[in-house]
């Protein structure tokens, strides 16, 4: 099985340095893009590969790039931003790529920046990733030294600077427009869309924001082609995916697998199944902002459309498993508290709705809930739903809640009727 993204990452070892990765052909795609292809050519190749964004929303990367104006007045400077914020609970996939092979990301970013003709790129890095920061900075300075960054890269006349910006916290900064505000040194409030960053982004200029995993692909795709990429997945969507599992499983961890492996295979084979004495009750398949799937969904293939059809989202592909010895109400209370605290405070349903949700969940968990809360909770899942709020933060919070209320209805009822948490 091919593992293009993680093939050069060896557990417990330092990431490959420039020379090593270069010799292994890691920069081949980048060189090809810059020396042999037009920017538009790179974009259409990526479009043809059907690379879908790995940041959670699954938007086609080539399409996103093609929205960037390539001619006309006042289009420069343009920016490329790598979203390495990764702050969603249960999500730890970009960390591996950042710590394990920063050159792969840099190679991809150079090709991506070339495609949209951006002269400056920022890596917006989660504050806690100290090791990743060190490795990135080291790799970037190597790339400068080797003439892959800076002025006139490889003698092609293309210039690119990459800066690392470490975040100061706040999950919302992972939302791409909030991220832009944070990069501008402002409060990390999301921006109105449209206009999309491709037309008015960082400092008001055309900007593309892509996830670490997405960008790590680019050089590979340029080197090996769209068909190769498509062939990697089991469902034709394109590519492999980093899948992670956390919770009470035997071997929590992260694996690069073809897009389209089933949930059951990931949990039971790669993660080794449930820990002894624990039974599977459900899973958030794509991080804390995705709907619960349960036993009956274990055969669902983990790719964008199939998970969506099953009523959840592929999200970041990092699963959180709920076991039978963890109270689902406490589980949701924890998740919703996170969302309530991380709300940016801009729009009403999110800012006011989430704390109310969290308070009701706490009350139920503490045995002080009322039946009426179940209706109010349910109402909030649509009240905070997509289109109702300014950004996707609150709708993300609504997902586990709405499915949790459905799948664990009896547990909720028992809490209220017995006036205590049955797990306590």
């Amino acid at each position: 099985m091919e593992r293009p993204l993680t093939g050069h990452i060896k557990k417990g070892e330092a990431p490959p340095g420039f020379r090593e990765y270069y010799r292994a052909g890691g920069y081949n795609g980048t060189i090809k893009a810059l020396k042999e292809m037009t920017p538009a050519g790179v974009t259409s190749l990526v479009k043809a590969s059907n690379l879908l964004g790995r940041g959670g929303a699954g938007f086609p990367t080539g399409v996103k790039w093609s929205l960037v104006p390539m001619e006309g007045e006042n289009i420069f400077p343009k920016y490329l931003v790598c979203n390495a914020d990764e702050m969603e609970p249960g999500t730890f996939k970009d960390r591996l790529l950042l710590e394990g092979n920063p050159h792969q990301l840099i190679a991809g970013m150079i090709a991506a920046a070339y495609a949209i003709q951006a002269g400056t790129a920022y890596i917006f890095l989660r504050w806690a990733y100290k090791k990743a920061e060190r490795e990135l900075r080291k790799a970037i300075s190597e790339a400068y030294r080797e003439g892959f960054l800076g002025k006139n890269i490889l003698g092609t006349g293309f210039n690119l600077d990459i800066h690392v910006h470490t975040s100061a916290g706040r999950y919302i900064c992972g939302e791409e427009t909030a991220l832009l505000n944070a990069l501008e040194g402002k409060r990390g409030i999301p921006r109105t869309k449209p206009p999309f960053p491709a037309t008015s982004g960082l400092f008001g200029k055309p900007t593309v924001v892509n996830n670490v995993e997405t960008l790590s692909w680019i050089s590979h795709i340029v080197e090996k082609g769209a068909d190769w990429f498509k062939g990697l997945s089991l469902t034709g969507t394109g590519g492999t995916k980093l899948y992670g599992v956390s919770g009470r499983v035997k071997r929590p961890g992260l694996w690069e697998l073809p897009l389209g492996v089933t949930i059951g295979e990931i949990i039971n084979e790669h993660a080794g199944g449930m820990h002894d004495g624990y039974a599977f009750r459900g899973v958030l398949p794509g991080g804390a902002s995705t709907d619960f799937l349960v036993e009956e969904h274990l055969d669902v293939k983990m790719d964008f459309s199939t998970v969506a059809a099953a009523g959840s989202r592929l999200g970041t592909g990092t699963m959180i498993v709920l076991d039978d010895r963890t109270c689902p109400v406490a589980f949701l209370q924890n998740v919703e508290k996170f969302y309530a605290l991380e709300s940016c405070g801009w729009c009403t349903p999110c800012r006011e709705g989430l704390p109310w949700v969290e308070k009701m969940l706490s009350a139920i968990e503490d045995g002080k809930g009322k039946m009426e809360y179940l209706d109010i909770l349910k109402f909030h899942t649509s009240y905070m739903g997509p289109g109702h709020t300014f950004c996707a933060h609150a709708p993300g919070a609504a997902e586990p809640l709405q499915s949790g209320l459905r799948f664990f209805h009896d547990d909720f009822k028992r809490h209220i009727e017995e006036k205590k948490c049955p797990w306590k």
Binding site: R170, R187, R191, T192, P194, P195, T199, S200, F203, G204, A340, L341, E342, S343, C344, G345, W346, C347, T348, P349, R351, E352, G353, L354, P355, W356, K359, A363, E372, I376, F379, Y383, G387, H388, T389, F390
Partner: protein, 907 residues
């Protein structure tokens, strides 16, 4: 901006709408109410509160539709939406329910109660049952200075305050802090809000977070106030205001919408300066003294005319001094009493000639004289010699908006509509339309200026004339122009030539003829190239322009005439001469006058020096017309009963004219009779009579009530004096009634005493009085332009008078600096505002201070134009070397004739 008319459907009904506007804006224009908070017509849409939700349908087959925010939805042809859709309604109710989870239940004791946007929206959205049973979040409140009270727990996080204060008004000492439901709006620490427009927070905030502290001190519910349409008297811009009364005191000033002038906002001087009306400095009864070495003593009312009779009998020589802060009618009544040849304007010769020069230019040159609204639309602005924030604050605010025009144009080119506030700002970042400011000292508008030039008045005018020459492709004005001036002039000229809507603002208040001439010269050069160009001067006072339109000579002329011929009786109308001429001159004038009669309402030095002092009414107790700097005549109406024996100046003067047998009073002596007489005598004012409703105006046989129909206590409020209900006060002079009865539906725009329509108790009721948000008042914006654009272009030519006010030798050039709080006479008597008035100071730059061997706060002796005064030094590095700025017209300060050269001596 031309907008295409398209067809849309709202709740099944067809409507015409303007393409590209927001749906919310459109609905409000159509009289369809969509609840909202974060949208404000002047601030645009940001989609934060989510209250304006409606259902949008893809096409007629779409029955499910989806919820969208109407404030963020652009109108397109064929748009189908529903406001009444059950899902949309439920969603809006839920938003209110959300906001109510933390909002305190303190309506009965909340200052905002009864005029609260949140109350309106709660009722409109239909949320009424509380399901939230947890604790509310609470915040600490802050001390924000003498004007604004802060009660953060009432906040519903609509972000309007911070968007007004920072984005709209340019204030930087206010912000939103923290995140999630803990966001806090205020300052980083307690302290007085620094922005001159902070008072608008009171109206912009939809709840009671920011309330009027001065109103709080003598609080009354909105529905218990009597209100009248009024006009601000604190500068030459003439913002429209609503004055509110209870128990015979003036309680507060609120904005009154005028689409052409102040829109939704007024400055803090205008909002909080009103306290002088209730102040302890009022003249409450006639006073007199038999000889000048005696103190004035109160005079019984019935003796006033006996005392006046001999002073005004036909054989007496009389002279009258008018005032730029008195109404046209009062000035006219004086003019009529004393005769044109004996009427003097009560302003210095310099001020008069500058004002008249500007006026002539405005009347004859063919220039466009912009309203404030048009100022906002300028795409290039040059300001010469005027510190707008301190002399005409709302014009500064308008220029601040003009600086944003490039952002709006750039956004539009990318398909982002102007109302979509955040993207417009994000796209343009800090790019600004060109504004150039040339003033002696740093300016609060500098942050929006492309370049600010600092120099002497001579330097400023040199710059101006250079710009003008470049525009006309003439050689640079000969003389010692340095490269800086030349290059800057080139740059500004190029910008102005490129602009489609250039604007020249020239100061009169800097009192330097060359500066004004330079401004007019730039404008006329552009005109001569057939460019569309706007020109507007800033004048010193509320009716400076009205006075300039009248015949009459200056105060200097009066002094000269008096010193040659003397007079038997000198009558002074609402004017403190000690602010306008030096003490000796005024003393001489008094010396040459047999008896001096003064009409005024504030006990100033001139009033104290009178032989007979007649108590006049302040604006809130009077009716009158004043003309603002664009030549717009606007009328204010009384809201307050003046005390016993206090009369409006025009009433006093008209009655006095009966004493002279050759000059019978205008009869029967109502306000309209004076106006009629005035327009006959002075045809420049004839438009006034045509346009402003007279006292006979009725709507369905009824007057317009000053009180809301909920007005309470009428039968009881005087019970401590007499148990039977007093007859309501009559007002024969206006179409407004001092009562709650009458027709309140859509009075003429200039007669709107307050905003109220069913469902809207908050100021937000203004939607029902305007044709569309940011448009005009229904029936046209109040006021009549007396200056029409001349058809024939006759711009004249302007020359620089050289050698004028250059500093001589080693001496200093002293220039006048105005202070928004302090330099205006009336507002300085307001107790809250007075707290923000600094002591007089002389400003010099650090190097000059070192040369003088003084530091910040040291006292120095200033000698200039024959005056010596002791003032404190303030370091201000923006001043050029050799120039010192004296803060002028502050309370208690003597007149100093500036600009002038002078000496500064360390003591």
């Amino acid at each position: 901006m031309e907008m295409k008319v398209v067809n849309i459907r709202i709740d099944g009904k067809p409507y015409e709408a303007h393409e590209g506007k927001s749906l919310l804006d459109t609905a409000l224009s159509l009289g369809l109410y969509i609840p909202h908070f974060c949208y404000h017509p002047a601030l645009g849409s940001v989609g934060a509160c989510r209250l304006c939700a409606v259902k949008k349908f893809r096409d007629t087959n779409d029955t499910r539709g989806r919820i969208v925010m109407s404030c963020m939805e652009p109108v397109v042809d064929g748009l189908i939406v529903s406001i009444n859709d059950p899902d949309a309604k439920a969603f809006r109710a839920a938003v209110i329910e959300s906001l109510m989870t933390n909002h305190p239940h303190d309506c009965p004791v909340c200052d905002e109660g009864g005029e609260c946007h949140l109350q309106d929206m709660t009722v409109m959205s239909g949320h009424n049952y509380r399901r939230f049973d947890f604790r509310k979040r609470t915040h600490n409140d802050q001390y924000l200075g003498p004007f604004i009270s802060h009660e953060m727990n009432r906040c519903i996080q609509c972000y309007r305050c911070v968007r007004f204060y920072r984005d709209y008004a340019g204030g930087r000492d206010f912000n939103v802090f923290a995140t999630h439901n803990n966001v806090f709006f205020g300052r980083h620490e307690d302290g007085t809000l620094q922005n001159e427009f902070s008072g608008n927070l009171v109206e912009v905030c939809p709840t009671g977070v920011f309330t009027d502290k001065t109103f709080r001190e003598h609080y009354t519910r909105k529905w218990d106030l009597s209100n009248a349409p009024s006009v601000c008297v604190h500068c030459s811009v003439g913002c429209n205001i609503i004055a509110g009364e209870r128990y015979d005191t003036l309680r507060r000033i609120m904005n009154r919408y005028n689409g052409a002038v102040n829109g939704y906002f007024i400055c803090d001087r205008g909002r909080f300066g009103y306290e002088f009306v209730n102040g302890k400095d009022r003249i409450l009864s006639p006073r007199t003294r038999d000889s000048r070495d005696l103190e004035q003593a109160e005079m019984p009312a019935d003796q006033v005319f006996t005392a006046l009779e001999p002073l005004f009998s036909k054989d007496r020589k009389i002279m009258g001094i008018g005032s730029p802060r008195a109404s046209l009618e009062s000035n006219y009544a004086l003019l009529r009493l004393v005769g044109e040849e004996n009427f003097f304007h009560g302003i210095s010769g310099k001020e008069q000639s500058l004002t008249r020069a500007a006026l002539q230019f405005m009347q004859n040159s063919g220039i466009v004289v912009p309203s404030l609204k048009q100022v906002e639309k300028a795409d290039a602005v040059i300001i010469l010699g005027e510190d707008l924030t301190n002399t005409a604050p709302m014009m500064a605010l308008a220029v601040r908006q003009a600086a944003r025009n490039i952002q709006i144009t750039e956004a539009l080119a990318k398909g982002i509509p102007f109302w979509n506030d955040l993207p417009v700002r994000e796209l343009a970042q800090d790019r600004k339309s060109p504004v150039y400011i040339a003033t002696p000292v740093k300016d609060s508008l500098d942050d929006v200026a492309e370049r600010s030039f600092r120099g002497t008045p001579a330097g400023i005018s040199k710059l101006g004339f250079n710009i003008s020459s470049v525009i006309k492709r003439q050689a640079i004005v000969p003389g010692d122009n340095d490269d800086e001036i030349r290059n800057l002039a080139e740059q500004i000229a190029r910008t102005l030539l490129k602009a489609e809507n250039p604007l020249v603002i020239a100061g009169i208040t800097c009192l330097d003829g060359n500066v004004l001439n330079a401004g007019m010269s730039i404008a006329s050069s552009l005109l001569s190239l057939n460019k569309k160009v706007m020109f507007i001067p800033v004048l010193p006072e509320s009716n400076s322009m009205g006075l300039a339109l009248m015949p009459g000579k200056s105060l200097d002329d009066a002094a000269d005439t008096l010193s040659v011929q003397g007079t038997d009786t000198l009558i002074i109308l609402e004017n403190d001469l000690f602010r306008r001429a030096d003490e000796d001159t005024v003393a001489n004038m008094f010396g040459k006058s047999g008896r001096v009669v003064v009409l005024d309402y504030l006990n100033n030095p001139t009033a104290r020096a009178a032989d007979i002092l007649l108590p006049a009414t302040a604006f809130a107790e009077s009716q009158g017309t004043i003309v603002n700097n664009e030549g717009r005549a606007q009328r204010y109406y009384k809201v307050l009963a003046a005390g016993e024996g206090i009369k409006e100046s025009w009433q006093w003067l008209n009655q006095v004219s009966g004493i002279r047998s050759d000059n019978v009073p205008v009869s029967p002596g109502h306000f309209d009779d004076i106006v009629a007489s005035m327009v006959t005598a002075l045809p420049v004012f004839s438009a006034i009579k045509e346009y402003i409703p007279d006292a006979d105006f009725r709507m369905l046989n009824a007057k317009v009530p000053r009180q809301t129909f909920r007005y309470s206590g009428r039968t009881a409020m005087n019970a401590h004096r007499a148990v039977s209900e007093k007859r309501v006060r009559q007002d024969p002079d206006s179409p407004l009634a001092f009562s709650m009865e009458g027709r309140r539906e859509s009075p003429p725009s200039s007669l709107v005493p307050f905003y109220w329509t069913p469902g809207w108790n908050s100021v937000q009721a203004f939607y029902n009085y305007i044709d569309h948000p940011n448009g005009s008042m229904k029936g046209g914006d109040p006021g009549i332009r007396l200056i029409r654009q001349a058809e024939r272009v006759n711009s004249g030519s302007f020359e620089m008078i050289t050698g004028y006010f250059e500093s001589e030798g080693d001496g200093w050039l002293i220039v006048p600096l105005y202070r928004v709080f302090g330099s205006e006479e009336l507002s300085s008597a307001a107790s809250s505002l007075r707290q923000l008035v600094d002591d007089p100071a002389i400003l010099v730059n650090r190097r000059d201070a070192e040369r003088l061997n003084v530091d910040d706060g040291d006292s120095v002796r200033l000698e200039t134009s024959g005056k010596r005064l002791v003032v404190k030094v303030k370091i201000e590095n923006s001043l050029v070397s050799g120039v010192a700025g004296l803060t002028v017209n502050l309370p208690g300060m003597n007149f100093v004739d500036l600009p002038a050269s002078g000496e500064i001596l360390k003591i």
